[in-house]
């Protein structure tokens, strides 16, 4: 984690994403994952033909994007009643431990709430201990679904 002045919570706003935010989001994501995925992020910005409600929120400090979150309501996938899925969250590495992730997650939950969902869910790599710690610190724990996979190479 790099050092940097942490923003005061009062200076942070949580907003719906704008097209001009995308390059900064791509930068934060590629800093975290070491892979730049511009096509993916632009596709999240302009989803075509989606039937499920989806939200793409960003944390701004002035003009600067310091975090983002993506979530949507998915119904009856794998037999699950409608629930709010968090499928991406990221905070600029130099702005962590300042509560930005909690603010983003809280804002997403407020978007989910009017849809009537009672549960939020996410999936992450088993070795992502820091991210897993974050979700657990927000009250999340292992749920009733388990992910299985197999190689299809012979």
């Amino acid at each position: 984690m790099t050092s940097g002045a942490q923003p005061s919570q009062a200076n942070i706003t949580i907003d719906d994403v704008c097209l001009t935010d995308i390059p900064q989001i791509i930068e934060i994501d590629s800093e975290i994952t070491k892979i730049a995925k511009p096509e993916l992020w632009y596709s999240y910005y302009a989803p075509a033909g989606r039937s499920q409600p989806r939200w793409f929120l960003v944390a701004h400090e002035g003009e600067r994007v310091v975090g983002y979150i993506l979530g949507e309501v998915r119904a009856w996938e794998f037999g699950s009643p409608p629930c709010g899925w968090i499928f991406a969250i990221g905070v600029s590495p130099d702005q962590r431990i300042g509560g930005i992730g909690s603010r983003l997650l809280g804002a997403m939950i407020e978007r989910f709430r009017p849809t009537g969902v009672k549960t939020i869910r996410t999936m992450l790599h088993i070795d992502e201990h820091v991210l897993m710690s974050f979700f657990r610190s927000q009250g999340m724990a292992a749920g009733p679904f388990i992910q299985l996979e197999a190689s299809i190479d012979l």
Partner: protein
Amino acid sequence: MKLNQATRLAIWSIVELASRPGEQVPVNEIAQIYGISQHHLAKVLRTPSRAGIVGSTRGPGGGCEFTGNANRLTLYDIVQLFEGDREEEEAPEAPSTPVAAEVARVLAEIDRITTATLRSVTLQTIIRNAERKEERRKAAENLEPVDAMTERS
């Protein structure tokens, strides 16, 4: 998950101390809360004390105090103090058959999930989640009489 008794006592005690920051908590008080022997608990707490996460003061007003970082210390760290590094544990020698290899793979899968869980739960998370549950319980208790009145009216 099966843990040694000392590990379990250490987890209870350390989380209890971490939930009361800056407070000197007498060992007998913790022993009483969790229904365990004070003598045994004092022995158990020597290990986290040597690791620098529990401090103690003798004399009147003395007791134990959590001296670690509750936002960083995980259940894995405590388990590791008492039971060694799970990731470095060598699997016992097994016959090299396809069945033995598959059994070993399943056991490794269980270990990986266990380790990931222990590594991701900080003491602060346990404390916060316990507080949330308590708040919900109290809120539910406060709602009950209102519900009963609504039904009567």
